[in-house]
Symmetry: D2
């Protein structure tokens, strides 16, 4: 059966019935900096109960939302880069405090650009890596050491991304992975307008290309921060949402007009079951994306690479 | 309101109630060559009545269908290239017979690769042109003279494709345009498996990128043959189709269970109206495409460029 | 015989024997703005005598030199963008004063990205166009109207660039062409460090790809400003220069050691003749380029597109 | 001082004074199949003496030469693919016989595409990998298991290619590496017309991008077959060769005209010294390449990927 998935913790939280109500084991914090058009949200999944309710692993998910990101306004992009740098540094500091990352200036960070460079909405990670200035090959450096890799996708390599990364980690011993990936959202309004940063890594079924193996502290042995922006919505998701609306419409008609007993009798689970039967199996792999996704991905790839530069290179302006 | 469109005449024909019934002004012919896995269909729209019923201009639409096209089987691709060459030559011969194209060997053909090279499912036309061997710059040539252009998309040029082409036609005076474009289908089963060749040119609202102006004999002054393969389905189309199925399901329940009078009372037009109200306005621009579209487009771009080579270069093997 | 060419007027000027001496019909002005690391040079070819001496048409050639351009220093790039905008606006103002371009705010500028997008050092023009924000398709605009085209190269189109542009000009009637092209320099020290802006357009034999037809006021009917950066040196040029040095070395030895009478007897013309005989004919088409040319072209493409934005969009920051 | 290098063993052999004479420790075999336009040469470096004389490690170097490769003739390309497959299979068989590779059908081969995908003449390896059909992710396979990686270049990754490969080998345990790389030749006539296959792997200073670490049995732990085609000539090489010709010309003049005693007195070593002094230090990194290198690399990438398919997939036609 379909999983109508979203990679955004903030969307998962919104989907709870009685939006705004509290979920045990999940904390939510929203704020906006003075004079800023960026809305920040932090969803913290605190325990196993929260993880189960949210369908996402324990950890912190920070989202930065700015409608202007979808447009070419450079000021917003610079502001988002700056905010991404602030939040990245905060997460690294926390990892140092917890002893997960060594507490010294010159930690070695491996940046990973996930996704298929030949498929426009999946190319965000590779494009960020294309902009990134690495320095591990320049020996004098005394600050953060940055290396980077675009591992490709399994259809091209015949290997799991996790295999490739484990090998590189084994050889080069970085202290931290920062993975960049294109995400799948639930709502088309999120496309290109929301940036998520999380300390939980990459999980099976996430991203545009559906990685099968996870890239996490557990699987790789070192902490994995993940940066992502939704560039697609699953085809099943938009069909599902539209049908849900139809069923609600019909059910309300049914009550007033003494009809629709069939629908009335359906529990939410049975309704979900009905919808899934209607979705064609092929929908699972298909995704929905806007026609100007090339411009969006190109712009955002700079926003993110600049954020990484600002977080790790102290003199970066 | 939405137009749930398809660029394939064969799908338009299938959508008629009572599939298989005849439509005045439209003739349908299906055949299969001996020992071939390619199914050929010719939809001929004969008059204004047929054009109105089909929502497509008068002319001939030939489709070649082969499920194996979706896979990397080179034999089928070669067979489809050969068949495309046969049909292209047949159409050119007919144009010569009608006096639309001069009746001599060395006609000048301008190949046009429509679409956005940076958006994977829209890049079919540019990729075909990237494979194409032009010869207009090699003066000794005594056979067909081939030139080619990738005009780009309006968001990048600020110009209508028709403007660019009219200008080039004015300067270089070709006898015939062969335009290649990625198409939008209605059914996801058509993606990458159906090739359409038509003598009616390119029409507003067709293609992945929604050209606003037509590229036809009327607008350009010379005949336009168009080759296309569906690489996307409109997001609205798959939502629409799934909801139609749901409504039929509910309506049949209604009859047996004495419920659903609401739906029973809805005429097909009212049902369509209801569905369109449910579709979000943003869906209009969104498209659905499979994750391996890069491989499909790369393969098909060779199938089509080889077909064009075989049609116009007599010694091409 | 070989033409050991350079596209840079400033290099042509330097090549005169007794560098620094005046050439009739050519004026030279060098300056540096306060606190700036950019060196500006204006070579003005004033009459036919100067044109013949320089091997370049009458007009103004402004070069901006900054060694830091070769590196990724963003500050210099921003400064060069700003200076390019200043000089572009100055040239447009002069063209308005002369009545060559209509004296109103909303002139229509067609930006042209010359060169082959698939060959890294030749891709500067196409890459600038890829960054450029055109606005002709957005009707409300009241300032400069910008459209853009990447015409491709003759091996791919079978058409001269001039043919394609004449056609587009005929249809869209711009007031001014701004062409961007990768240039060939004489000295490898110029690669990626010198930007030339000229009001003389593009001439046969210039650029990396050796355009055969000129793109000028005379050929196109409207003024053509050309922006270029050297990304290659002709293979013949570096061989020529090294041999010249050798001959000088040998000749000086000859004088002191009473040898080399053969070389002593050669006039400069005969020496040049000797060198050309040594150069293999294939060298004419070959070019020399550094291995990191991809990074240079990517960076400079932003420097130039930003300069064009700043020149034509008044609110561009 | 400069090393005027070539990656082709056949060119190294040709450079010996008294071309055709035997070198101790080096065997040479040339042949041509019936009805074939491909010339095959096998240079076998048999011992340390041969290795020192040739400046290349012990092993077998097979070259396939066909002038027609430079053109788009598909027949030759298919023939070269077939011959590459024959020679690849022969080398694998020999490795099995020597116990270097396990003697079973389903060995695991890792294909490696070396070079920078963004620099046209260096993109041969990445482009071959882009065409390659891997099957390691398809579990049913009972024949050769093929995986593939494009490791990128150090300027983009901050890592040595050897580090990345060692890591991947550690995780995925292939039996054999087949590396594809763009080569540097000595003669411009070799560009795009000669394919070299060797069982000695990749050595420091080879390839267009100058890999610093070797990829060999010694460094990686498993045998490395390397496939390459020259796409560049070092800038120093063509200058060197032209000057050598000049010196010979002058020296012969000197003898007849009783001049040029200076040159007469120079030993070959001193002549080489003189030439190297004339070469500018920057020449070391520069390379010479033809303007149509994009077409050459695109065509050859298919020739090579087809050869690999034919060698390892038994049913490949």
């Amino acid at each position: 059966m379909f999983e109508i998935r979203t990679d955004l913790a903030v969307e998962e939280k919104e989907s709870f019935p009685g939006k705004g109500t509290e979920v045990t084991g999940v904390s939510l914090r929203e704020w906006r900096k003075a004079f800023s058009k960026i809305k920040l949200t932090e969803v913290a999944i605190l325990d196993e109960h929260g993880a189960k309710a949210m369908g996402k692993p324990k950890g912190t998910y920070i989202t930065m939302e700015a409608k202007a990101l979808a447009k070419g306004d450079e000021d917003y992009h610079r502001e988002v880069s700056g905010e991404l740098a602030v939040q990245l540094k905060r997460m690294v500091k926390e990892l140092k405090r917890q002893g997960e990352v060594p507490d010294r200036e010159n930690i070695h960070v491996l940046a990973v650009g996930l996704g298929n460079p030949s498929v426009t909405p999946d190319a965000l990670g590779p494009k960020v890596l294309g902009n990134l200035k690495v320095n591990r090959n320049i020996t004098e450096e005394k600050t953060v050491v940055l290396s980077g890799i675009v591992p490709g996708v399994m259809a091209q390599t015949g290997m799991e991304t996790a295999e490739i990364l484990k090998g590189i980690l084994h050889e080069t011993k970085p202290d931290l992975v920062v993975a960049v990936d294109a995400l799948a959202a639930r709502s088309i309004r999120r496309l290109g307008t929301t940036l998520q940063l999380t300390n939980t890594g990459i999980h099976p079924g996430s991203g545009v290309g559906n990685h099968r193996h996870s890239l996490t502290k557990e699987s790789l042995g070192i902490p994995v921060l993940a940066i992502g922006v939704p560039t697609v919505v699953g085809a099943a998701a938009i069909v599902h949402d539209t049908i849900s609306t139809l069923i609600q419409t019909l059910a309300s008609h049914a009550q007033t007009e003494k009809t629709g007993e069939f629908l009335e009798q359906l529990s939410p689970e049975e309704q979900y079951q009905l919808i899934c039967e209607l979705l064609e199996p092929e929908f699972g792999a298909l995704y929905v994306t806007p026609p100007d996704i090339d411009q969006t991905v190109k712009r955002l790839s700079y926003t993110i690479s600049e954020g990484i530069h600002m977080a790790f290179y102290p003199k970066w302006e």
